[in-house]
Symmetry: C2
Subunit: 492 residues, 2 copies
């Protein structure tokens, strides 16, 4: 190692697009992940933790003939010049893990995984380059019972973390039905026009029925005044796509009838509809009605990526967005069937289906609804009146902890007692313990109820203030009991 040169001070900042999480931000997310894992576990899914780093060839999507892998991931070269990268999701690593260990894993293999993933993208407000995902997948079965199970589990999970029934809906669609529609339209399988139609369908959420119709045919003037070229289909050709997207009816039987109209005689289309019917039957048998999980052909997210059923969980309650407008909270989870992912490694197709929950969005939703269990209460603070008697204070704090009470001794400079109370305030401490020389001689401590004290300070007269009902003197032997009494009261 060469000699270190005198350097300017480093900047105390994380890299652009990364951030720190403090205290309850960490524990609230952890609590939610624990709750999700409990449901996944109950469904028979097993935990898997793969490394944050994978080879670029295992992650896929990369080019061997360029000097540096393309954007989207953080990648670098190992000593032997092979490229490695931070995982960008939890699905690509699962494909690698399953291909590697398939002889030692049960078939089907149900696994869940949770942890950070990294995207080398331009960060923006609320968009970070490291964020959490929480996935569950079933690998090795083509049965739509696996898809139905994932939907049921997603519904149970949302309710378990605190989204009440009625505030969410899991919507199910099927890529095969869309394939049937494309077949019914007579579009050639390989032609670029199929991709154009898929891309157009992706805009359904934004532009609606009439917008899609225009984009599929002659084109459309968008909100900015720009003219967007159309795909160039005739109105007749576009009709099955519109019929597909708008096929959702009040009851499932009618929806399926509409879909049958949209796919015509297409075999793959009929197969897709049969799968949706089966999923509906299985869910009904498990007690999951349409108020929780519904067949909805207007779900277009992921139709380009998945090969069979696709699912999306939406929160249906309204919030105010940053501009003060009311809108639905929207999607917190998506997934579907992807039958080709493991094939990259093994050459053999391995059917798989799964779901990913956007943990940070779900947390935001729960905060929005005021449904996060507060873990923000600070520790009891044992103040330091006499530095030389630190051992006594240490003994007090040990006694509190041994009684299971979160507690700490003040370790800053004890000279200014006001600073100690300011510290307790910053720590959201519910109680402070005070023992000066006089109290020590008499074998007592002052137990100060800081929550009550703050309330009094807001509104008390001088007389009330002097009466100090928020502070009680008790024998040292009663300290734990008195603290417990105050803590029990402040929780109520």
């Amino acid at each position: 190692m060469a000699k270190v040169k005198k350097q300017p001070r480093p900047k105390a900042l994380p890299p652009k697009g990364f951030r720190d999480y403090f205290g309850s931000e960490v524990t609230e997310r952890k609590h939610m992940l624990d709750q999700i894992a409990a449901v996944y576990h109950r469904y028979g899914f097993e935990a898997l933790e793969s490394p944050a780093v994978e080879t670029v060839e295992a992650l896929g999507k990369f080019l061997p003939d360029v000097d540096r892998p393309n954007e989207g991931v953080f990648a670098w070269q190992d000593e032997d010049d092979s490229w490695m990268a931070l995982r960008y999701d939890l699905t690509a690593p699962l494909a690698r893990v399953y291909a590697q260990h398939r002889n030692d894993l049960p078939t089907p293999y149900r696994r869940y995984a949770m942890g950070p993933v990294w995207r080398n993208e331009k960060p923006g407000p609320g968009r970070y380059r490291q964020f959490y995902q929480c996935d569950a997948d079933t690998v090795g079965t083509a049965s739509v019972a696996a898809d139905a199970e994932i939907c049921a589990m997603l519904s149970d999970t949302l309710e378990h973390v605190g989204i009440p029934r009625g505030d969410y809906v899991v919507r199910v669609n099927n890529r095969k039905v869309l394939n049937g529609v494309l077949e019914a339209m007579g579009l050639p399988e390989e032609a670029g026009v199929r991709d154009d139609v898929l891309r157009t369908i992706d805009k359904f959420d934004k532009v609606g029925e009439e917008g899609v119709r225009q984009l599929l045919t002659k084109g459309r003037l968008d909100a900015s005044g720009a003219y967007i070229d159309g795909v160039g289909l005739s109105e007749d050709q576009a009709e099955p796509v519109i019929a597909f997207l708008t096929s959702k009816a009040a009851d499932a039987a009618k929806t399926f009838e509409n879909l049958r109209g949209a796919v015509g005689t297409s075999r793959i289309g009929a197969e897709g509809i049969a799968e949706l019917e089966q999923i509906g039957d299985l869910l009904a048998a498990g007690g999951y009605g349409a108020e929780r999980i519904e067949i909805d052909p207007s779900v277009v997210r992921g139709l380009g990526y998945y090969t069979g059923p696709v699912f999306e969980a939406e929160l249906t309650f309204e919030i105010f967005d940053e501009k003060g407008r009311k809108r639905q909270f929207g999607s917190v989870s998506g997934g579907g069937r992807y039958d080709d992912l493991v094939k990259r490694f093994t050459g053999q197709p391995v059917p798989a289906t799964g779901v990913s929950i956007g943990v940070d969005r779900l947390l935001a939703a729960l905060r929005e609804k005021g449904r996060i269990r507060s873990t923000a209460t600070g520790p009891v603070v044992v103040t330091v009146m006499d530095k030389a008697r630190m051992a006594d204070y240490q003994a007090m704090v040990a006694e509190l902890r041994n009684a299971g009470i979160r507690a700490e001794v003040y370790l800053g400079n004890p000279k200014n007692f006001g600073n100690q109370l300011k510290y307790a305030d910053m720590r959201r401490s519910p109680v402070a313990i005070i023992q000066g020389g006089d109290e020590a001689e008499r074998g007592v401590v002052q137990v100060k109820d800081l929550v009550l004290g703050a309330k009094i300070a807001e509104s008390a007269t001088l007389e009330e203030w002097k009466a100090q009902p928020a502070q009680t003197e008790v024998p040292l032997g009663d300290m734990v009991a008195e603290v417990r009494r105050i803590l029990a009261g402040s929780e109520g």
Copy 2:
């Protein structure tokens, strides 16, 4: 993006030195981290999660004038050519976080952090390039009460995760005492000979008292027959170092007397001894006797890095190593005071002290002692006798899950029933549910106790086998109760 070329199949392997963790490997570690976090929280420490990625300048130890940062970390360049790297520990990020947010954080700031860290080192057997650390640090106080608190917390943590008192000891030393020894020896502060002495002391664990004496003076023939040059001190000069390393006596008072002899009139040495005495007093006041935490000047690990008190937790029970030799399990945690880390950013010294637990080693120790709570029981498996009746099986599994029982329906190819039982075996399922057409007509299910069944299969006669006491037929309405009865029995 350029056109993707036809590529050979990717290898289904993680990068060298990385590995996957399955099922109970994940949940057992998680359970231990939860237990550790509970103790840290009780001590008033707050969670912090900083990103996996930091700028290379914030991590430190790097050179601006070489093309690629030196080995030891995984580093790469961002779009703007600045270097970023995966964190190699949790302390360097803490220094950055504290420097950045110090105006919004309480003083002192107690924080804990747990998560993976990455080292770009040559992997070896049992040595991975990603592993977990679990740290607690107190930033912003020079008080040795903070060091004593860390030691007490470490002792409580080890007992809380399942290491009984007597099977571990936390040892405490102080770099300042060693500085006093070096002063007493008359070694110049800046000279390279100090570093030579520090490096020699680091070998005390391996070569012992006589080995250190030889290495400090004229040199030593090592086990391989090679001659190791000595530092070149006289026997008299080496004596204070030996006195320091061997100063531990049966009681602390005698140890301190020995240390006073070793540091002579050195002011810094006297300060270091006073600190150790204070730590001992504070711990005694908290009820932490020498059987849990002891002052031990023979602890040399980290003396080169830390600036004040250093601590190490050792497990004292014996295990058999890979060669079948008995040895003590050894160190699972270390820490100490490092007063210069934040200064890199702010220019102002910020005192800090902390500890890091080697989570994987501690887990290995608990497994070695058979103290890991097994989480390996699989789900109840509802078998599939008739594919067309999947909705019925789905309803059964939903009923089990709603009763809080971990359960799944068999989703593989149901043709061969033997395969379904093999699957249940691989999943360590305690119970299988069986319902063929005949049972369905009669409204009953077969509930098969797989644990008892396996026992019988091992030792049963043909008659016993036929009697099949491990399988019971019950009305469908009693399924949950019967499963509960079996699960309660198999836990006992």
